[in-house]
Amino acid sequence: MRVDYITGNTAIAEAAIVAGLKFYAGYPITPSSDIFEYLARELPKHGGHVIQFEDEIASINAVIGASWACAKAMTATSGPGFSLMLEAISLAVITETPLVIAYVMRTGPSTGVPTRAGQYDVLQATYGFHGGLVIPVLAASTPQEAYDLTVKAFNVSEMLRTPVVLLTDATIAHTYGKVIMRERGELEIIERIRPLTPPDKYKPYEPVKEHVPAMACFGDGYNVLVESLTHDERGYYAPRTDVQRKLMWRLYRKIVDSAPKLFDYSAIGLEGCDYAFISYGSTALSAQVAAKMLREKGYRVGTLKLRTLYPIYEDGIRKLVSSAKKVFVIENNVGLYYRELRAILRDKEVVSVPIIDLDLPQPQEIVEVVKQWL
């Protein structure tokens, strides 16, 4: 165990190394680039490769390739870069390729304010790619969480053979914090399931455990097929409804059924509360302070900070805020994740508190907006 005083971006890079990162491909983009630079300096010392590709498209496709050579692989980017990666994320979904994308959100749309924060891309992070499935999205609000969730992101990607997004923003990226870094041996590190069957019996897309197939890699002698087309368990293209149905439901279920296992949050004062604040990422810090201010004024306000945004664990969230009469969803955007929560909290009044701020929404501003609803 080590203790250090590092930024959110550095925490991600450090955690990736501990998780076993062996290949990083990237293209510079503010405010994610210092993850890249840090890894360029440190990862080779651990025998890993860091390569700057010609664009984000090449980067993510290289990450997929590296993962199929059985290296743990990641990239880091921000909104515009993530948009360029979307097509390949879809490829990673259908080919069930474990990989991690650290997504450091900045102010948008388009070039926006590249150095400043926002939470505009929370939906793009999981719904952006074509094909209508879901990938896990974890959200950090402090350097410590960035560290812990990066390790978790790798574990989830390996366990479920899926791309995983670790979502932060420009504020967390450059916030310093005390980070307790656990080393290998002090942490649970999950590795993908490798085939136990001999090559002639191996089917690259046949689930062996909870919808997840075992993964052989390039060079293992298994004649693997990485197939972007709709495929059967052998990886053979099969343009048939029965095959498509089976594949879609398996890819969907393996993520969505894991929601309880992936659910990660912190709750303060939710038991017996009248009002619940739900937030995530850097804005959760503002929401917690705002809640504290209201509690000091006698209101029974609890906060739920979500660290797992997708898959959504509906029952878990419902239970946590069950005593609240009103639920406020506080975000640094026009009210995006609110739509998700409104859909699952149908028996409650769910209020969107969208506060656009280039940095952190001010707690006082949250209090003022919320007060009219109390």
Partner: protein
């Protein structure tokens, strides 16, 4: 506990804040979050570090100072700009060399010529930040001074370590 450190670009504000934050993180059981603001495009513009320190992790819950318990102001401009972020009863360290107008507040003010001390007594105007840091540590004892010196050695380029430590020790060598 909230600590605000503010001054103009070029005064070493970020380094001061980083060394203090790092020393607290690595050498105490306290939790800490820290954020930096600097106006990159204009040297001489705002430079500010906010540190939020708490006994429990969940109480180090914000990265911006709401009401500072401790503040360092190295320049008049930032003193004017951020004086309302400092609570009554706070300990406020002000560089007398760069200020003329101290607001009438219910603070415990330490008005000391950090810049002049650095220039005349240490021999390098650039270490005014460490003079101020030494003063803050001596008064508050947030972290043991040795921990700060270790942190200086970790963070500062080798050839500048001695002069920074000398500046940091200034107030400790005075009785």
């Amino acid at each position: 506990m909230e600590i605000l450190i503010a001054g103009r670009g070029g005064q070493g504000i970020l380094l001061l804040g980083h060394i203090l934050g790092r020393a607290i993180a690595k050498h105490t059981n306290l939790y800490i979050l820290g954020s930096e603001i600097y106006a990159a495009e204009t040297r001489g513009g705002d430079s500010r570090v906010d540190l939020v320190v708490a006994d429990r992790e969940e109480d180090a819950d914000f990265i911006k100072v709401m009401k500072a318990d401790i503040a360092i102001f190295m320049h008049q401009l930032q003193l004017d700009a951020y004086k309302d972020l400092v609570r009554d009863g706070a300990l406020v360290f002000i560089d007398k060399s760069n200020t003329t107008n101290i607001p009438q507040r219910n603070w415990k003010v330490y008005l000391e010529p950090y810049t002049d001390i650095a220039e005349k007594e240490i021999g390098n105007i650039r270490v005014a930040n460490m003079v101020a840091l030494g003063h803050l540590i001596k008064v508050t004892s947030i972290v043991p001074p040795e921990a700060v010196e270790d942190t200086i050695k970790e963070v500062v380029a080798r050839e500048w370590v001695d002069v920074n430590i000398k500046a940091f020790r200034y107030y400790f060598s005075k009785s």
